[in-house]
């Protein structure tokens, strides 16, 4: 985990697979889905919170370990 510099800019995912290239190719009309079972998980790098600290993390930091990646609708939602 790298230390995250806290700035005032809107925090955003800094790197997410080839999405930028994909958007340039079709002007964002259609998003390319790259995640498929049996294929390499698309890598990304983004900010995170854990145990009182902020940090910067990549999926590739976890190579060599099993990972469960869980998306959910949003903080403070009910389920």
């Amino acid at each position: 985990m790298k230390e995250l510099k806290i700035g005032c800019a809107k925090p955003a995912a800094q790197r997410a697979g080839e999405i930028d290239e994909a958007n340039n190719m079709d002007k964002g009309e259609k998003t390319m889905v790259l995640a498929k079972v049996g294929s390499k998980a698309p890598d990304f790098e983004t900010s995170m919170y854990q145990n009182g600290n902020f940090g910067q993390v990549s999926l590739s930091d976890y190579t060599g370990k099993w990972v469960v990646l869980c998306f959910y609708p949003g903080d403070f939602t009910f389920v």
Binding site: L59, Y62, V68
Partner: protein, 141 residues
């Protein structure tokens, strides 16, 4: 429950469109009241939705991410995925069962595979010419 993931050498990463600042507030004001000491795993931010788009879980109209769950092996290969719409929560026991099954397959280099509903200690299948037509001897309802 989290101990079980740790014993299996599994990292849990959660991710939503909320910023890491909001994750902190959620941890402090609510999660720490549901889970003693708060949730221990990294809570990732995908405020642009770009990561969710890559994984096919970003809902552009609502600006949220569906309940997508991906099991990724040590080589970075996605072995399993499940995507639920928001109103229904997932079943952690099933995630753990699938991880144990995929770990067994990996440890045996794919020589042993796990039939439906497999749990550790239950019979496995060894694919090959002798198994054809003989699965019933090992597995039935």
């Amino acid at each position: 429950m989290y101990n079980e993931f740790q014993e299996l050498n599994v990292e849990v990463l959660t991710i939503s469109v909320d910023s890491h600042f909001v994750h902190k507030m959620w941890q402090v004001h609510e999660l720490s009241k549901m889970v003693k000491g708060g949730v221990p795993f990294p809570m990732l931010s995908d405020s642009s939705g770009n990561i969710g788009k890559l994984y096919g879980v970003y809902d552009e109209d609502a600006g949220i991410e569906l309940r997508g769950r991906f099991i990724i092996d040590p080589d970075g290969i996605i072995q399993a995925m499940e995507i639920l719409t928001p109103p229904v929560g997932r079943n952690v026991e099933e995630v753990i069962r699938q991880i144990k099954a995929y770990q067994h397959v990996r440890e045996t280099n794919g020589q042993e595979v796990t039939p439906s509903g497999w749990q550790p200690g239950k019979p496995v299948l060894k694919p090959g010419p002798d198994l054809v037509g003989n699965v019933w001897k090992t597995w039935n309802v």
